[in-house]
Amino acid sequence: MSLVEIKDLKVHYPIRSGFWNRVTDSVKAVDGITFNIEAGETYGLVGESGSGKSTTGKSVVGLEKVTSGSILYNGKDITKADNRRKLDYNRDVQMIFQDSLSSLNPRKRIEDIIAEPLRNFEHLSKDDEKLRVLQLLNIVGLDADALYKYPHQFSGGQRQRIGVARAVATNPKLIIADEPVSALDLSVQAQVLNFMKKIQREFGISYLFISHDLGVVRHMCNNIAIMNRGRLVEIGTREDIYNHPLHIYTKRLLAAIPETNVNQRAAHRASRLAVEKIYEDQQSKYYDEDGMAYPLVQVSPTHSVALPETIAKQLASQEGEVQA
């Protein structure tokens, strides 16, 4: 059994209007996605902004009311608030937010911010609690004098580390990391990612790592799901996604990875434009008549893609993959 099993998850936001506040339409932020997260692994969820990644992450951590489908944590459906309460679910499943400034209450001192989950879930003595907070600060590489300061006194990278410290405070099993480094400078990104990896090794945590950038995900994730307009278009191992991408959307994301080597910028740009052109020309092949992704079909034990069966098989054999 996997740590988390997401089955046909749908989150639709109703659009209300008129005096009686009736539902007149809905935004299908997440529209039927299925994947599993194993204990101890980092699972990547990648897609353009607006594709429903954050909504998925928030559903898993219990912040979003799901429309239908289920999320099983150790076999229990945690889409019901009642089950979450009984399990003390958020003691085990925590979140790191994209915007580190907005995710730390500007009116609270760092000690109170990091201790918040401890106070609700662990009820330590005052000294034990302070000690734990100091240890957490130390683990994420911050000094003790951070204790009585406010979030605005720290840099973006430091704040994100405070967010990491809060998320690991109760020693959780799973952390949803929603674009944890997207708002940071490149040099700081690597630093925060390294802390996250170190913590994963030491505490045996699983991550659901959300990103819009396949470049960042490459160094973090074993398994990756590609999300597009509320649906998954491709699932596979790192090898499957980076070396044998099948869906045009995945190829487009790969082409969008920024090229750091100055000498190859021109070539990179040309290949990106080529992919973009194919994307424009072949949309009808990769999406159904409503412009939505097809259901996933399996092309190898680890690799699935959202295409009609025949096309998927054909593409897979072109790519030289071993058939299931």
Partner: protein, 316 residues
Amino acid sequence: MAENFEQHSDISAADLARLNQEAQAEATPSTAKIIWNEFKADKPAMAALIIVVGFIVFVMIGALFINTPKMMETNIMDYFDKPFTDGFWLGADSGGRSVAKQLIVGSRNSIGIAIGLTIISSTFGIAWGLVSGYFSGYIDWGMQRVYDFMMMLPMTMMIIVLVTIIPHYNSVSLTFIFSIFYWEGTSRLIRSRTLAETQKDYVAASKTSGTNHWKIIFKEIMPNISSLIIVDCTLSFAENIGVETGLSYLGFGLPNQTPSLGTMIANANDPSNITLYWWTWLPAALEIVVLCLSISYIGQVLRRAADSSQRQGAAD
């Protein structure tokens, strides 16, 4: 589990006291401290604060030493005594009653009502706005329909009707009657800020940290809109001094034998009073002007101080 943290950090219980002390030395001043420093730096603001606080304390205590029923007795011998005659510092009115004493007791009554009204209506309005904005959905929708209904009622007319049909009312019941109609503006203001605040990730983080809704509303969100609350309360207070005064002036405020700033200014209803017996109404009018100006000046400084701590909060 605690071992897990012991093992992976270099800090153990032995370091606790030392590190805590180091951290304390680096602690950042609180918002209250920032506001106080702002007052210390701004001399006119300090003067305004001293005037308002000093005056309120003076009339609250002074009124205790005045026998109101005796003061309100008519004494025909002192009819419109000029200031500084017969021992009347500020003269006497048409009933021969001391203007100075009426001013003290009247200020106590008017300011007392204004304070009570501000506390009740602001508390209610803030709570209403916070809850409505935080929960959104059906709760918000229902609470907003109540708000719409209250806003539809013609306020002044309702107060006059209520005051007329309630047989024996005094400053306390009057305060409550006013309060019914004075929380709406605050609630709307607070709700719109709460709607924005609730979207921020720190609220989501509090939820995933296991904090319950009420704690999130009053301990996480409310401190973040404290500058708005402080400024709104100060301005409401200045405005509320005018509320009672206005109605008493029209003759629908406190009963006749209860002096207030409004009943004193009502002396100006008589054209001959306005020019000939100016001392019967001018001190009360001046007092209101000075108080309201001082309070709104204090409000401005509070806003500036709160904003600067907010700015520091937003700065990188």
